[in-house]
């Protein structure tokens, strides 16, 4: 089966001379949940932007052997339009793609229902909590029916309870929609709970230090956090992270 996307010797140097990333080789299969884990400022976000096509690589290539998939993007901030209610925010990608208004509304409302916000369709962002705003942001990404979901530390600014609830919901959505997720985080436990594969990234310039490909059982739910497999997986990731940091100095 061909990969969904392949990064070959990809690198990014910004105009001010900062080498942010690479060179990096990474291939992601359809249906994988891949986490990029590393310290802040290690070029993980840059990798996501390169995959999304928002910036061009300085070297190397981003290839999609099966064609560029429908792509959703979730940022660390909810990044909502404050002048639009939850429904209009979730409709934005569909409207930009030229989907008819009534169909866009139905699909956006369905997406909001899936993230538990069916009672808040006409709430403005300022009336929503941080966790709810992030749910709108996820619903917006889901509304367009993505095959590939790119998430840039989406839950880093949330409290632990909200973060765990959203982690559970994300896993369920990933399984239901057979999504391919590329997830950036600096939390070892979050990556251990969510991922089918963890890619350890070194401090700037970001390079792959290790790939932890251990395949704990899927599907998972909240009880997975209490299993020995989870502890072993998290410990493994934690050790690899430590080694990556030491190797960098």
């Amino acid at each position: 089966m061909p990969a969904l996307l392949t990064l070959s010797a990809i690198s990014k140097t910004f105009a001010n001379g900062t080498v942010a990333l690479g060179p990096m080789d990474l291939s992601i299969q359809e249906g994988e949940f891949v986490s990029l884990v590393g310290p802040s400022g290690c070029g993980k976000s840059t990798a996501l932007r390169l995959i999304a096509g928002l910036i061009a690589p300085s070297g190397g290539t981003v290839e999609f052997p099966q064609g560029r998939p429908e792509t959703g993007f979730v940022f660390q901030e909810p990044t909502l339009m404050p002048w639009a209610d939850a429904l209009s925010n979730a409709m934005m990608p569909l409207k930009l793609k030229g989907v008819a208004a009534s169909e866009a509304e139905d699909r956006a409302a369905a997406a909001l229902k899936r993230v538990g916000l069916s009672d808040f369709l006409h709430a403005y962002p300022r009336a929503l909590s941080g966790g709810m705003k992030m749910r709108v942001s996820i619903a917006r990404a889901l509304a367009a029916g993505p095959k590939l979901l790119l998430m840039d530390e989406p839950f880093a600014a949330l409290d632990e309870f909200t973060r765990q609830a959203l982690n559970d919901d994300l896993l369920a959505l990933w399984a239901e929609d057979k999504l391919t997720v590329t997830f950036v985080t600096h939390s070892v436990f979050e990556s251990a709970y969510l991922s089918t594969r963890v890619v350890m990234v070194t401090p700037r310039p970001g390079r792959i230090a290790a790939v932890i490909d251990q395949h704990p059982p899927v599907p998972r739910d909240a009880s997975f956090r209490l299993t020995p497999e989870f502890s072993a997986y998290a410990g493994h990731i934690s050790n690899a992270l430590k080694q990556a940091m030491e190797g960098a100095h």
Binding site: R49, F73, W83, L96, Y124, A144
Partner: protein, 261 residues
């Protein structure tokens, strides 16, 4: 503090000051040439009603047209600036020069160019110059302050430059524009008044010229009546634009939260 007190306290103070003023003018026998009492000003409203209302209409009309043109021109130029750094770099310094040069100093030159027989056009140009810059500066800033991640998201979903401008940059700039409009509305009125004084001959017929004329003839009550009208006009402009701001922003913008709380 509740709403009733917020209104009652300043209104009560105003009534007290007017009463004290009336008392002082009568008790100290102050000449109406120096300071007319509130009663004399009220009588001037009645006796000079035709002159005052004609002058008010002239000033109001020019203020509104200058303000509308300032908004249209300021927003149009701001949109141009937001689309091209080169145009902004080329033109912005001249907009600043136009802004910092005192309008009183430009007035006689513009008057000569446009002509005394077109004095309303002179007032319009001068008021426009004064009112234009806050709109341009704030809207330019607002258009640039759109969330960069949202711009990326719009691009990811294939938005055109026009869609990004209209659906994203323009709503982001709206609070900035509305705030600038409150400043500009007042400035347009000030611009018309200053221009009338500065252009300085009998062909202007607005409230400022009425004040000039009345004080020359020592009709102080009429001058004060015109002054009262100018204040009311300024207050009405400010409240009308504040109401517009509230109507457009209260559902979503942070600035409206404090007022509700």
């Amino acid at each position: 503090m509740n709403t009733v007190l917020k209104i009652a306290i300043p209104v009560g103070l105003g009534i007290a000051v007017i009463a004290a003023w009336q008392w002082a003018v009568t008790a100290l026998a102050i000449s109406p040439i120096v300071l007319p009492g509130p009663d004399a000003i009220a009588r001037a409203f009645v006796s000079d009603f035709a002159n005052l209302s004609a002058a008010l209409w002239t000033t109001l009309r020019i203020t509104i047209v200058a303000f509308v043109l300032a908004v249209v021109g300021g927003v149009a130029l701001a949109v141009l600036f937001s689309q091209s750094r080169i145009i902004e770099t080329a033109l912005f310094p001249y907009a600043v020069i136009l802004q910092v040069t005192p309008v009183v100093a430009i007035a006689p030159i513009v008057t000569i160019w446009v002509g005394y027989d077109n004095i309303n056009a002179v007032l319009l140009i001068l008021a426009w110059i004064v009112a234009f810059f806050p709109i341009l500066a704030n809207t330019t800033l607002g258009l640039r302050s759109a969330d960069h991640n949202l711009i990326d998201l719009f691009r990811l979903y294939g938005a055109s430059r026009w869609q990004i401008l209209w659906k994203l940059r323009f709503p982001s700039a709206l609070p900035y524009l509305l705030s600038a409009m409150k400043v500009s509305g007042g400035l347009a009125l000030i611009g018309v008044v200053v221009a009338e004084f500065a252009a300085g001959t009998g062909t202007a017929t607005g409230l400022a010229w009425l004040i000039t004329l009345a004080t020359r003839n020592l009709h102080m009550a009429t001058a004060f009546a015109a002054l009262v009208l100018l204040s009311i006009l300024g207050i009405v402009i400010f409240f009308a634009l504040s109401a517009l701001e509230w109507a457009l922003l209260h559902r979503w913008h942070e600035s409206a939260i404090a007022k509700e709380g």
